[in-house]
């Protein structure tokens, strides 16, 4: 998406039928720095038109940088942005910006309150001036007061500082944070929103009631991974309590188990869904990024909702992405014997959408899961695609070179656990490129699917240096960045493979060449 360096999605919204995405952008180079809010609009979330930066340093409260923030839609329908500014003393403060001209549907120009900052660290409130950033979308409580969260920490305890306001201008810090967790370090890009129970539809951020639960997501500065919990928000006490069994660290639930950070959701009131944006940064070295002239991209926007188990969220690429589908190929239903692979030709393998479903029958042959294997990422690194198994590894080889010197493998392995079967999903980048200067770390997730009764579905969206994979209909998602040197320029191939000893049935398989989206 364009030239130069960019990162966190900011202030996503829909206004008068037009979607807006802003993002952290450095107009001076393919690195982080000199940060402004770049701005693009779209009518379909797929094809984008860039505009001039919406927010850039212009007053003392943001003269040293306009960092991340969110949009809140007022009850009468107009947007307001709260964002972190860096002031002349290099302190992190929170500012307000609003559209200059509400009759401009593209909202090109924004103006700021002269009395910014509205929230700032002080000796009175004891807030750490370099750990106070990323305001969320605000929500209205039943008492008619606005609430907003700002990410922070005290020593190693991550916090979501809570501020309240009656008029969106005068904000008062709450005595207690909405929530905190020990040993998690700085909480960046907090995101707090309601989800409907038993529905894929999204709801406005202020929605409360017995048919919603709440989600709190934070991005961890420390490890560069995120985690979320599902729980209950008490609007009278202004406290969030995660459900029993929630894990509060990056060993907990993640939107995406791969290279995905600084994510943010927004409520799409046009189609009543909640949409998730995330930043996929580079896995290449800085010198290569400078040579390319760009670094950092946004993941494909995903619809997100609460799983019927209520124990996790589910995501799926927005339906609009399917309009980029071009020529289609199918594979007929068939058994893929252990040790074999099938090439899929007829699609542009560097830019494709692949959907496949597997059925496994002889589950008795599954390897036993060692009880010490609790970290899926480590397990995927140890058992790459080239390590034989019994039920698996089976899945896709994408961005593969002709002689398979390079490939990225997205696959499943099935293990016998304590009292059920465990499905491991991996995105294996270890052989993705002959260029060893890239970070080829593999990623993994345990997929909550029952292979006895259900098929194992997998969808991978491939776009040159990006592979976004959705397992189990979106119950586990992994985004990866790869930089093949051979599997490029029309020479990439796509295979379905089975490196296990046991046969696996391909229940269905379709692949499409994808057309290019309009992004600049």
């Amino acid at each position: 998406m364009g030239v130069s360096g960019y990162a966190d999605p900011n202030g996503p919204m829909v206004y008068r039928g037009i979607y807006h995405l802003m993002y952290q952008y450095n107009p001076k180079g393919a690195v982080w720095g000199n940060i402004v809010w770049a701005h693009s609009t779209s009518t379909d979330l797929v094809n984008w038109t860039p505009h001039d930066p919406a927010i850039y340093p212009s007053q003392p409260s943001d003269i040293n940088g306009c960092w991340s923030g969110s949009t809140t839609i007022m009850p009468w329908g107009t947007p307001v942005i709260l964002y972190t500014g860096i002031n002349p003393q290099n302190q992190q403060v929170q500012n307000l910006a609003m559209p200059k001209n509400l009759s401009d549907p593209y909202l090109i120009e924004w103006v700021k309150l002269p009395n910014n900052p509205l929230m700032a660290p002080s000796s009175l409130n004891q807030i750490n001036a370099s750990s106070f950033r990323d305001p969320t979308t605000a929500w209205l409580g039943p008492d008619g007061t606005w609430r907003v969260l700002i990410g922070s920490k005290t020593d190693r305890r991550g916090l979501a500082i809570l501020y309240r306001s009656k008029d969106f201008i005068n904000w008062i810090k709450s005595q207690h944070p909405l929530h905190s967790a020990k040993d998690t370090g700085m909480w960046e890009c907090p995101d707090f929103f309601p989800v409907l129970i038993n529905s894929k539809l999204g709801v406005d951020t202020s929605t409360l009631g017995p048919d919603v639960k709440h989600v709190l997501k934070v991005s961890l500065d420390d490890t560069k991974y995120e985690y979320y919990t599902i729980g209950t928000y008490n609007p009278d006490k202004d406290i969030y309590v995660p459900d029993n069994g929630s894990v509060e660290s990056d060993l907990g639930l993640r939107y995406d188990y791969g290279k995905f950070y600084a994510s943010k959701t927004f409520f799409d009131s046009l189609k009543n869904r909640r949409i998730l944006w995330g930043w996929l940064n580079e896995s290449s070295i800085q010198a290569d990024d400078i040579k390319k002239g760009w670094a950092g991209i946004q993941a494909i926007p995903r619809t997100i909702w609460l799983d019927k188990s209520r124990k996790q969220l589910v995501q799926w690429p927005i339906a609009e992405i399917e309009k980029l589908r071009g020529h289609q190929v199918h594979l007929p239903q068939q058994v893929l014997k252990g040790g074999l692979s099938l090439e899929v030709s007829g699609v542009t393998a560097e830019q494709a959408d692949v959907v496949i479903s597997f059925k496994v029958s002889d589950l008795g042959k599954a390897e036993v899961l060692d009880p010490s294997w609790t970290n899926p990422q480590v397990l995927c690194s140890k058992k790459s695609a080239s390590v034989k198994g019994s039920l698996g590894p089976f899945g896709l080889l994408v961005l593969a070179s002709k002689g398979l010197q390079e490939y990225t493998a997205v696959f499943y392995r099935i293990f016998k656990g304590q009292n059920k079967y465990v499905v491991l999903m991996c995105s294996d980048q270890s052989r993705s490129s002959l260029n060893n200067s890239n970070d080829k770390k593999s990623f993994g997730a345990f997929l909550d699917v029952d292979p006895v009764h259900e098929e194992l579905s997998l969808r991978s969206l491939i776009d040159h240096s990006i592979v976004e994979s959705f397992g189990g209909g979106g119950k586990a998602v992994i985004a990866a960045r790869v930089y093949p040197t051979l599997a490029i320029d029309g020479k990439a191939n796509l295979h379905v493979f089975n490196n296990g000893t046991e046969n696996v049935k391909i229940a269905s398989m379709s692949a499409w060449s994808m057309k290019k989206a309009q992004i600049s």
Binding site: I86, S131, R133, D222, I290
Partner: protein
Amino acid sequence: MRTLVFIVLVYVVFQIIFLSSQCARLSSNDDNLIEQTCKQTPNYSLCISSLKSDPKSATADVTGLALIMVNVLNTTATRTLIHINSFLHHIPSPKIKKALLSCANMYYNGIITADVPVSIEALTKGDPKFADDSTLDAAKEATLCEEGFSGNSPLTVDNTNVNNVARVTEAIVKLLL
């Protein structure tokens, strides 16, 4: 009168002793911070000598110490780039020349004009994770430069220094996350 002078003298002497012990305590606190910080890096002696060579380290907090190390990284990398340029002037073999040019790119575009300024901005403005990524990247660029010579490197001392400095810097930045 003599008693008064005596009392005043004793008072003054005590003040001097008291004040100098205060100063001693102040600077030993900061020495303590430098030592405590350097103990958490992979190269204690390099860390100590680098930090103490800058007088600002006496009164710096951890962010300040990290910034001093970024400056050391900048100096060490710049010196390496100068060496690369002088080797290029001595008409090297095609293989060595290719590796030298690749190193020049990594040092100039990777470390000096990207990793260093990003680290400084990130530390100054309070988003240290970008400094963490950048210092890790700097160590990687130096390692890759060295590997590009397949054993015949004229830059081993330089690359080792830059790698060590980068890793000490990253260890200090990690304390801020």
